[in-house]
């Protein structure tokens, strides 16, 4: 009966709106990326710059830094919408909230996850990672970081109403990141040694599919809880 927008249009509209907001708050969204680079810089300084040591631990360092950077950026998915009441408007939308949540998480990934792809090769080179491991590194970041955003969104949705949500957010989210960390860094390790990595990549893809299909529903439920 109504002439409301199709779900796809609403999805794209919300995605574009979040990208536009990110563009207007560039400085804020650049912070996690800067943090990612900074954390990685600390490791050679702490452990000594032995080339073989750095090459050995590079996959682990890059992925731990990616987890921490993702943690740092998570709050921005819902925080400002919660503070200014836009979140209520989204929850009262005529469209299914889980799909709108997916739009917001996609936007978040595009501005925080995707840039890691650009700086990661640079850092990999600085840590002396072998050239044959680098395509795998990019592939794990491409598949792995959306999972971080999707799982993280549940955590933020649960804690966005709290005044001191930050510390509890890491307690909720980091344990859930363990499988991604394990499979991503082991894929890169294997690639560096010249082994097959398809098993790890398929596992990461499976995690991605699972989190795309389940996490928006949990996030939507958690947002309703936080808004009440």
């Amino acid at each position: 009966m109504s002439n409301r927008l199709s779900l796809g249009q609403a999805f794209i509209f919300l995605l574009r709106r979040d990208l536009l907001l990110a563009l207007r708050n560039r400085a804020e969204y650049a912070m996690p990326l800067l943090f990612f680079v900074l954390v990685i810089t600390m490791f050679p300084l702490a452990l000594g710059a032995l080339p073989e040591l750095l090459a050995r631990i590079a996959p682990g360092i890059i992925w731990v830094a990616a987890l921490l950077a993702a943690m740092l950026s998570l709050d921005s998915i819902f925080r400002s919408d919660f503070d200014d009441g836009s979140l209520e408007q989204i929850l009262l939308s005529a469209h299914p909230i889980a799909i709108l949540v997916l739009a917001k998480v996609s936007a978040h990934w595009l501005v925080t996850g995707l840039p890691l792809l650009i700086v990661a090769p640079l850092l990999a080179e600085m840590l002396g990672m072998s050239a044959q491991a680098q395509p795998t590194l990019l592939l794990t970041i491409l598949i792995g970081t959306p999972i971080l955003s999707l799982i993280g969104a549940i955590g933020v949705a649960l804690t966005v109403g709290l005044r001191k949500g930050g510390i509890i957010l890491s307690l909720l989210v980091l344990p859930l990141y363990v499988p991604v960390l394990i499979f991503a860094s082991s894929a890169i390790d294997n690639a560096a040694m010249g082994f097959d990595v398809s098993a790890q990549i398929y596992m990461l893809l499976a995690f991605l599919l699972l989190s795309v299909s389940l996490s928006p529903w949990a996030t939507a439920a958690a947002l309703r809880m936080s808004a009440s």
């Binding site: 249009q9 200014d84 209520e88």
Partner: protein, 177 residues
């Protein structure tokens, strides 16, 4: 039109939020045309417009961008967005960032959502906060028009303004407390 009245803290806002489904009722359920709202979900929400304590507008976006988003989330009304801004006296600010507007202007933009989207039930929590006398009367006029179109308004307000008298009901929550 239903005006919810009562002293601070008597549960006016809670009642309104329960009506929108944002908050769960401790017991009982909310029916819209005989059906519980949590089952209707989207079909209920496309007929509801809610303006709460927070304006729900993004400071980094312009007035027009904000209204376009509101339209995308609900059901767009046939009105042109420029006309909507004209009606709430924000026409000159269409492309300015909301962050640079005054509190009263932001409030008018939030209320402009009522015109930008097509909905039957308006749920308004203190809609007149930080509005001047002229704006209040302007919105009172808009409420009147909405009621003439068989719309429904549930409102809380401390402001003593000349609300339309058609079908006006008052609910005083303070009486029980």
């Amino acid at each position: 039109m239903l005006v919810v009245e009562g002293p601070n803290g008597c549960g006016k806002t809670s009642l309104l939020r329960i009506l929108t489904g944002l908050r769960l009722a401790d017991s009982g359920e909310i029916l819209w045309r005989g059906q519980p709202i949590d089952r209707l979900a989207g079909d209920y929400y496309e007929q509801v417009n809610y303006v709460g304590h927070h304006d729900g507008v993004k400071y980094e976006l312009s007035c027009l961008e904000n209204l376009r988003l509101a339209r995308a989330m609900g059901v767009p009304s046939p009105l042109d967005l420029d006309d909507v801004l004209e009606q709430v006296n924000l026409y000159a600010y269409g492309d300015s960032e909301v962050g640079s507007l005054s509190a009263g202007q932001k409030r008018r933009l939030a209320l402009a959502r009522l015109l930008a989207t097509d909905s039957l039930l308006w749920i308004l929590d203190e809609p007149f906060t930080s509005l001047d006398k002229a704006s209040m009367e302007m919105f009172a006029g808009l409420f009147e028009q909405h009621l003439q179109r068989d719309g429904v308004i549930v409102v809380t307000s401390h402001h003593d303004i000349s609300l339309p008298t058609r079908d006006l009901q008052r609910l005083n929550l303070g009486a029980q407390a």
